[in-house]
């Protein structure tokens, strides 16, 4: 028994050490980003690498925001990202819960076909439809506009799916009681259903926000003008420029990542261990 518990302790501590090493390796690039954002470029490429900055250079962040040409375009692009991602998060939640409610709580002929058709769109890769979508946007004259960046993502099949699954378990008696009291259908939806779907709505909002925050391909197509680009497109441009400073590059990266870190780790109870993660890593 004694030997068994001893070997158990040994195994447990071995596991602990393994994990510390693994987590260390996983976290190294993040530490690198944080450290390098405060270093002059020469130190980042110094051999051997020094983890603690020898000289501090917070001016990197100024350079990141001002850009290599001093046009302060990053501020504008961050604002664009916030506008686009927020609008899409709000509209996804509203429209998906409407459609999900219709599919979960009403009976009408063809309901299953509608549901299957919407689910089928999940199989369509964005890369397949991006060119026709782009042509639609061009025809509508929405290039270089917020509408062009937002409209194709107003809702998505995944959102409908989440909301439908969530609302199927919603107590029907509550809806019927409201109907008997003479409540109109739109009011039932907005005052009873929508108000009581907090967790599902929060999850969906964060996931849609994040997905757009990360979206590179579509803004590359739609926004040719600098002032209509979003953060990922700015990062690509900044990194590809000839005289880009490595420290400033990492400062750009830190600024782009901070909101996501705050958002995710303040809501970590939803994302670590929930089924919500299913969509979170999508590109």
């Amino acid at each position: 028994m004694n030997i068994a518990s001893k070997s158990g302790i040994a195994a447990a501590s071995l596991r602990g050490v393994t994990f510390m090493v693994v987590c260390g390796i996983v976290l190294v690039p993040l530490l690198f980003m944080a450290g390098a954002s405060l270093m002059p470029a020469i130190d980042i490429m110094h051999m051997p690498y020094r983890w603690i900055p020898q000289t501090w250079k917070p001016a990197n962040f100024l350079r990141a925001l001002a850009g290599n040409d001093g046009a302060w375009m990053y501020l504008r692009n961050i604002l664009n990202s916030i506008i686009v991602s927020t609008t899409i998060a709000v509209s996804t939640v509203l429209l998906s819960s409407m459609v999900g409610y219709g599919l979960a709580k009403f009976n009408f002929r063809g309901k299953n076909i509608v549901f299957m058709a919407i689910m089928a769109t999940m199989m369509i890769p964005f890369e397949t439809v991006m060119v026709p979508l782009y042509l639609i946007i061009v025809k509508a004259g929405m290039q270089n506009t917020y509408a062009g960046l937002i409209v194709p993502f107003l809702m998505n099949a995944f959102g409908v799916f989440i909301m439908r699954q969530y609302l199927i378990t919603f107590p029907t008696e509550m809806l019927d009681a409201a109907r008997i009291d003479g409540c109109s259908e739109p009011r039932i939806f907005s005052d009873i259903v929508f108000r009581n779907s907090g967790p599902a709505i929060a999850t969906l909002a964060v996931l849609s926000f994040r997905q757009q925050w990360d979206n590179l391909l579509w803004p590359l197509l739609v926004s040719q003008k600098e002032e209509m680009k979003t953060i990922p497109a700015y990062i690509v441009k900044f990194a590809a420029e000839k005289y880009a400073d490595e420290g400033a590059m990492m400062a750009v990266a830190v600024i782009a990542s901070l909101p996501m870190f705050v958002l995710f780790f303040s809501l970590s109870k939803y994302f670590l261990g929930g089924s919500a993660v299913y969509q979170a890593g999508k590109e």
Partner: protein, 303 residues
């Protein structure tokens, strides 16, 4: 009889409200999913240039013949396949392994999960950018590998060698998604009832035996889901390769299919050809999703 009629009227009214609630979805997905999908397939039979005023000409299967006969397309197919395999195997094995270890931990589960998950929070572009600097000839990656292998001063050409640049993109991806898939596995393992494991322990099965004889077979729904998700995501990878090529890496070895579609459409302005590749990609994904549905239905039947 009368009562039944009023019920019918109510039902009809209710079903009308159902349609009203569903209508925005129908309109949206028709315009922004089904129409573009059909349009992409349709365009693949035409000789169409982006934003050209010339009337596109119907050329039948010529685009398909041209694409399937071009080295460029097969290079992209190879790049995507290599990337998918190169990411799938290590990512699947490592995340399953870590998930098994995490579930057997008594303390610190959350911390380990949070640490592993944190790269998944980053944008794909940011992840690629960090690694772009670390893989620089004077960067951390060379120093670390040289320290490990005790080969000072060797440049491993992470971003310039044809093979190494592929490995580099795989590393970025595995690093970014490891925590994400680990958590999916942890959730899956958590659904296996404890009683089964306890019974096996009483019967004298060790931890490794338990993992292979109990956890793995009972985890099948999750393993199928994770496998398909990894494959589909790998086939759609774009940001990492795009940023790497913008940062000076050679295009050929990492010219994955999505990057090729983007360049064919936006740089060469050849929409017909881009649509052919889009359609092929779509058919491939359709096949994968069908496989997943079949497997998950089998699992349901098995339970």
């Amino acid at each position: 009889m009368k009562r039944r009629e009023t019920m019918g009227g109510l039902e009809r009214k209710r079903s009308r409200w159902g349609w009203i609630f569903v209508a925005p979805g129908l309109i949206f997905f028709s315009v922004f999913s089904f129409y573009p999908m059909i349009n992409a397939i349709w365009t693949s039979f035409f000789n169409k240039r982006l934003l050209s005023l010339k009337q596109p000409v119907f050329i039948g299967l010529q685009n398909y013949i041209r694409v399937l006969g071009s080295e460029d397309f097969w290079n992209s197919a190879r790049a995507t396949a290599m990337f998918t395999i190169g990411v799938f195997v290590p990512l699947f094995v490592l995340s399953l392994l870590f998930a098994a270890l995490i579930t057997s931990m008594r303390r610190g589960k959350r911390m380990v999960q949070a640490a592993l998950y944190s790269p998944a929070v980053l944008s794909s572009v940011v992840a690629a950018l960090i690694w772009l600097l670390m893989l620089d000839p004077r960067g951390l990656a060379n120093q670390f590998v040289n320290w490990l292998a005790m080969t000072p001063g060797i440049d491993h050409r992470w971003l310039s060698d044809a093979t190494m640049v592929q490995v580099s993109t795989m590393i970025v991806y595995i690093w970014k998604y490891l925590g994400y898939f680990t958590i999916l596995f942890v959730t899956g393992i958590g659904k296996i009832p404890d009683s089964v494991n306890e019974a096996a322990t009483i019967d004298g099965a060790g931890p490794i035996r338990r993992f292979f004889s109990i956890t793995l077979p009972l985890l099948r729904p999750t393993t199928v889901l994770v496998s398909v998700m990894i494959i589909i995501q790998c086939m759609k990878t774009f940001s990492t390769q795009y940023l790497f090529t913008q940062g000076g890496a050679p295009l050929g070895p990492i010219n994955v299919i999505t990057l090729n579609i983007y360049n064919t459409a936006m740089r060469d302005l050849n929409i017909g050809k881009a649509s052919v590749m889009s359609t092929i990609l779509f058919l491939f994904m359709l096949g994968l999703t069908w496989l997943q549905l079949r497997f998950s239905r089998e699992d349901e039947a098995g339970l």
